[in-house]
């Protein structure tokens, strides 16, 4: 084991190593596809509720069935467990976390209103746009995590 001969060079090496670690957080195709499926289930709920009379629980269970293996696979691929981040958690991904909540609530509230007014096509468009927005926001969140890992987190 080599010792730190030139100490400032050790800091530079650490930056390179953190960058390597951050690069592992690039999502494979199946991850973003899984995220899209999960949000599609969530945003399909108002339609199923209105036309099929289905309660929220089957949708909640189906979203969990997608989310749990997705998270498990993601942890296996990256080799990192990032821990839960809520809205008050600091970091570069914080605005995106707020945006996820706003988009979700917006779509869930808007869709039934549009369906009740007979604007089914518009409601479908809102659902599709919401899924696309959530996938894009997931990308932003992951970019924030990569940025955080490169910066060195708390011990920067």
């Amino acid at each position: 084991m080599g010792s730190v001969g030139r100490d400032p060079a050790a800091l530079e090496l650490l930056r390179v190593q953190r960058s390597r670690l951050a690069d592992r957080m690039r999502p494979p195709w199946w991850y973003l596809t899984g995220v899209a499926v999960m949000y599609a289930l969530v945003f399909a709920f108002p339609f199923a509720s209105r036309f099929l009379g289905v309660s929220i629980w089957p949708f909640f269970a189906a979203a969990l069935v997608v989310a749990v293996p997705l998270q498990w696979g993601w942890t296996r691929v990256t080799g990192m467990k990032m821990g839960f981040r809520n809205l008050s958690s600091p970091g570069p991904g914080r605005p995106a976390r707020y945006a996820v909540v706003v988009v979700s609530l917006g779509a869930i509230v808007t869709e039934p209103l549009l369906i009740d007014r007979g604007l089914l096509a518009v409601a479908v468009a809102v659902a599709v746009l919401a899924v696309a927005a959530e996938v894009a926001l997931q990308e932003v969140l992951l970019r924030g995590i990569r940025q955080e890992l490169r910066g060195g987190g708390a011990a920067a």
Binding site: V4, D7, L11, Q17, G79, M80, L149, A155
Partner: protein, 124 residues
């Protein structure tokens, strides 16, 4: 200098392991840590045992199917030691770059106490 070095994590491999564990992830898996640090399996095993014995790193072993999986995380004690050590390294880096600047200025400046030729008073 106010920050103090930690001799235990001063060796580059241990510093790399601790630095990567402090980067932001809660737990980091063996292979991810090995690849990011650019070290071999045996080196990581040996150093992680040393860091665990010192109370700097927490190790959790499990298995996925038949494959064993080892996860690492930094303990609060390890995090504190790393923060202090990195602060010391940053101060050192600053001091070194300041020293380099001084040397550069000294060699570039035409009038300098060390390099300027002494004016010899004329015999007149």
């Amino acid at each position: 200098m106010t920050a103090r070095p930690d001799p235990f994590i001063h060796p580059i491999t241990r510093l790399s392991i601790c630095g990567l564990l402090a980067a932001g992830a809660d737990w980091v898996e063996f292979a991810a840590l090995r690849d990011a640090a650019g070290i071999s399996d045996s080196v990581l095993s040996k150093q992680s045992v040393a860091l665990e014995d010192a109370g700097y790193v927490q190790v959790r072993k499990g298995a996925v199917g038949r494959r064993p999986r080892t996860w690492f995380r930094l303990t609060p004690q390890g995090r504190q030691a790393l923060e202090d050590h990195l602060a010391w390294l940053a101060q050192l880096e600053e001091a070194v770059s300041a020293g380099t600047r001084d040397v550069t200025q000294a060699t570039a400046s035409p009038v300098n106490e060390r390099t300027a030729p002494r004016t010899v008073p004329s015999p007149d």
